[in-house]
């Protein structure tokens, strides 16, 4: 029995925004932004237990524009209250180019506070990402376009997939790794969503057909994806909760298909990332916007161990 309980629904608590330093009207935000003094605490609803696994999820972020920097600063602010140690990326890590300056301006600068604080990013690749990114050390991909790793705490294993290239080798690898994993939580993350109410892309049915049976067979409870530039939590599909976190860079405002009938929460108006906490059989989540609102929150409970 998997279930999603809504603790606070749409908790729209307005927070004060710190004074951002914007240079030349471009994407540069001063380092002071992440250390703005005398801010009210963010209205997070995560239990923040000492031994839990704490991580974040971002997607479609690598624009280098002001909004990305603002959300990056907000992520650093969240970390002051909720000390997450990992950050998953669901692809489109760098738009427009993949040269050295792109890595600097679209990744290292906006997330400097997190990187300096020791947060480890684990990237997956989107359709805008050069395969060269797999060699970029801060993405922790080990030179592979798809890979798996065990979380440092709790019984959790992540599976980063290359969803634009689901060749037989990758699918066989995934089947094997899911089968080998004895972890309670098996969490795949990748770029193209199996379920999405995004008006631009929407659900990717061929990928759903390729991946969903494996996820069901191996007891996957949660999937993270991106591609559509919005935040969405999908009504559990055959027991699996799908998140779309393509909301961390440039949005397509209002680009939501309201007819899909499977949306539990959606937001295409404000940049957001997901803060997640796993403690035993429970996963808590807060979607936090660039202005510090908690735009979605809840608890996902996986089946109790016998």
């Amino acid at each position: 029995m998997r279930r999603v309980r809504h603790r606070h629904g749409l908790a729209l608590t307005v927070c004060l925004i710190s004074a951002w330093l914007v240079v030349d009207g471009t994407a540069t935000v001063g380092p002071a932004a992440a250390q703005a003094p005398a801010q009210q605490p963010l209205p997070l609803t995560l239990p923040n237990k000492p031994d839990s696994l704490k991580f974040g999820v971002i997607g479609d972020f690598g624009t280098g524009k002001r909004e990305q920097y603002l959300l990056g600063a907000q992520m650093a602010r969240v970390r002051e209250q909720f000390p997450f140690t990992l950050m998953l990326t669901v692809g489109d890590n760098l738009y427009g180019g993949n040269g050295p300056k792109d890595f600097l301006n679209k990744f290292e600068k906006p997330y400097k506070a997190l990187l300096d604080g020791g947060v480890k990013f684990y990237a997956s690749l989107g359709n805008h990402d050069s395969r060269q990114q797999s060699a970029y050390e801060p993405f922790n991909m080990g030179g592979r376009t798809y890979y798996t790793f065990k979380a440092p705490k709790q019984s959790v294993r992540f599976f980063a997939l290359e969803s634009s290239y689901l060749d037989p080798q990758q699918l066989q690898w995934l089947e094997r790794e899911l089968d080998n994993s004895r972890d309670d939580w098996k969490i795949p993350y990748f770029h193209h969503p199996l379920y999405s109410s995004g008006g631009r892309h929407g659900s990717d049915l061929p990928k759903r057909k390729a991946l969903e049976p494996m996820f069901l067979k191996h007891g996957v409870s949660v999937v993270f994806a991106g591609h559509d530039h919005l935040y969405e939590r999908v009504t559990p599909q055959q027991g699996i909760v799908h998140f779309v976190v393509g909301s961390s860079g440039q949005l397509r405002k209002g680009n939501v298909d309201k007819e899909t009938g499977f949306t539990d929460a959606v937001n295409a108006l404000e940049q957001a990332f997901l803060a997640v906490e796993i403690d035993g059989d429970e996963m808590y989540f807060n979607a936090v916007s660039r202005t510090g609102k908690v735009i979605d929150s809840g608890l996902i409970a996986r089946p109790k161990r016998k």
């Binding site: 359709n127 634009s164 060749d167 049915l205 061929p206």
Partner: protein, 196 residues
């Protein structure tokens, strides 16, 4: 017995090809073909790819090893240096070298098989979705920076010959390209790869 006969035929066919460089003559009317033409085409294509990857690896071994904790500058410089070496090592490479007419016809058929069936519309849609459209391509040229990569649907990849991990198939418009992912180099490409 039948298997032995078939194996003998295959060996004989392979010998004939290795000696003449051409596929065996058409069988007499009423006789079964001596080889599976697609299998032969696939094997020959795979061999060309393997030769290319061997060249890639040989040339990459001449470069200073990329540091374990490479900076973006080092990653970029390594890819460009490798790309340059490969291009210099095959100066006369041209479109169709890796994908001659029989291979193109074979790949087109396989892509068509991957695009058939009840899910065909969805699969075609997934190819179209992020397709950047017409982009100028050159054999030995760099895959254009900033141009997104299209999805290669699983049913299509399942029908195409398996590639080593250094090389990928990708669609651009209706072209199929062979992409050296580490050198970010266009190895070859074919037009009109997606059957209507």
């Amino acid at each position: 017995m039948i298997r032995l006969f078939a194996a003998a035929l295959s060996v004989a066919s392979a010998m004939a090809i290795s000696q003449t460089g051409q596929a065996p003559a058409k069988p007499a009317p009423g006789q079964p073909p001596r080889v599976n033409a697609d299998a032969l085409t696939s094997v020959q294509f795979t061999k060309r790819i393997e030769d290319y990857v061997a060249l890639h690896k040989k040339l990459e071994a001449t470069l200073p090893p990329r540091p374990e904790h490479a900076t973006p500058q080092q990653v970029d410089a390594h890819a460009k240096a490798l790309s340059r070496l490969i291009a210099e090592a095959r100066p006369r490479a041209k479109q169709g070298d890796m994908l001659p007419p029989d291979t193109r016809a074979y790949l087109r058929r396989q892509i068509g098989r991957g695009l058939s069936g009840p899910d065909a519309a969805g699969i075609r849609q997934s190819i179209r979705e992020d397709n950047p459209g017409k982009v100028r391509l050159e054999v030995n040229g760099r895959y254009p920076d900033g141009v997104p990569l299209t999805t290669m649907p699983a049913p299509v990849l399942a029908e195409l010959p398996r590639l080593p991990e250094d090389v990928e198939y990708r669609f651009i418009a209706d072209r199929l390209i062979l992409l050296d992912v580490h050198a970010q180099l266009v190895v070859d490409f074919m037009d009109a790869a997606i059957p209507k």
